[in-house]
Symmetry: C2
Subunit: 235 residues, 2 copies
DNA sequence: AATGAGTATTATGTATGACATAATAAAATT
DNA sequence: AATTTTATTATGTCATACATAATACTCATT
């Protein structure tokens, strides 16, 4: 047996706390009983008795479930099952000031990846109204020569609308959550300032592609549009 | 004052619990003091005294920070600051059985978006060794005629390696987290079974593109490779 | 002086009991 | 019947005590 196997062996000792076990127990309960959203789970005291632990432990475990978005606790009513909001949880710790720089850079990258890859969703779900809205947004776009002024609200309005069009609310939430990070990374010295301020594919052109083009054209257009950001990433 | 304004006014009443406030307080503390990873924060009792609340409340607030990945608690040593693992948190609630179907479908979509959009990262960071590994993986690929058997381990090995090549550990974690969901969605009746099992761009061809092609070619190739999945999404 | 066994200390983990609070249900009043 | 008042109930908060595990310390041994 080599060292790794040995280590893995040791790793298998149960180092979990009581709360850990109760938490796993409760999650299992939800799965097993196939409880639906809105159903209520037993009271803290009942759980404490039936699991043979103190209410303190139960409360900590329930708190975890609550943070995972699995339940919601109301006074008197007890706890009821809810459908977890994946990104709601994550957004709580999505605080630029507490994330290390590597993570921030990675999140920044993910944003670029998403916006390039979302083309097919956009084309499949976009409506005439969406296009009209996009046109409204870009109609107030500052002239090309001043593009480097980089109106951040304008950017958010445009790109945010794109996320919305995807019809993917998880992704939309992800973007909302990303905003402060994006802002932070952009203003911090984390990435090199863009040296060349060439004009790339504009928002207007992207809208034109959405109206009359193909997903493939959009991906390329968006890739080009984001060139400054990529350049900063890759030096 | 109209009704909306009035409502917003009412909404502004502080409905947060004690723990909420303490939590916000602690997060603020971390930001303010610019505490670095590894620094330790005051003991529970000290916090309780200085904030004027019971240790119970402090413990609940600390538990939340712990779940956010902001701190880690060790016996005797107290709590120390850690760099939050964004997706570690989310993965806890990433349990297919507790997520509703819409969310599952959305997550499935995000996976597709990521893999198409990651092209530029791949090309910028891929190494000769990576290409060799990919070739090894696809060398055991089942023949085209049996493609619809859809060897899931093989799929995971190949696509997982791609995530790895991006060098973006957050994205890689995201993928790891997605696996059970992907598996679940694939096997459940959530999406229609693919009706046509045409052969699209294969893993081998994708590797060839990575070796000698361009990001643009890769995006199109991947889009085509994922055609069956898209078809199931869009009917 | 270095090592190691054994002990003391300390901060978190768990248990228990009590009361506060808010939401609901039940009862009483009009 | 509708509304107000009261009672009930389950979560939220507090206080205290003890268990446990990790660390620091002591001291004997070499």
């Amino acid at each position: 047996m080599n060292l790794t196997a040995l280590k893995n062996n040791f790793k298998s000792v149960d180092t979990s706390s009581l709360v850990d076990k109760v938490e796993a127990n409760l999650v299992e309960l939800l799965k097993e009983k196939k409880l639906k959203v809105g159903d209520s789970i037993p009271k803290e005291i009942e759980l404490a008795e039936s699991l043979g632990v103190s209410r303190t432990v139960i409360r900590e475990a329930l708190l975890r479930l609550r943070m995972m978005g699995l339940i919601e606790s109301k006074k008197k009513k007890g706890a009821v099952i809810t459908s977890p909001d994946l990104f709601g949880i994550m957004s709580k710790s999505m605080n630029p000031h507490v994330l290390d720089q590597d993570t921030l850079k990675e999140i920044f990258e993910i944003r670029l990846v998403l916006e390039i890859g979302m083309a097919d969703l956009l084309f499949y779900r976009i409506t005439k109204e969406d296009i009209k809205e996009l046109k409204d947004i870009v109609s107030t776009e500052p002239p090309a020569t001043q593009f480097h002024l980089f109106n951040i609200e304008h950017e958010i309005a445009f790109h945010g609308k794109l996320y919305e069009i995807t019809g993917n609310s998880a992704m939309k939430k992800f973007q909302k959550m990303l905003l402060p990070v994006f802002d932070y990374v952009h203003h911090s010295g984390l990435l090199k300032k863009q040296p060349l301020l060439k004009m790339f594919v504009s928002h207007k052109e992207l809208v034109a592609i959405l109206e009359n083009g193909t997903p493939e054209q959009f991906r390329n257009g968006m890739r080009n549009h984001l060139e400054n950001h990529f350049a900063r990433l890759f030096d």
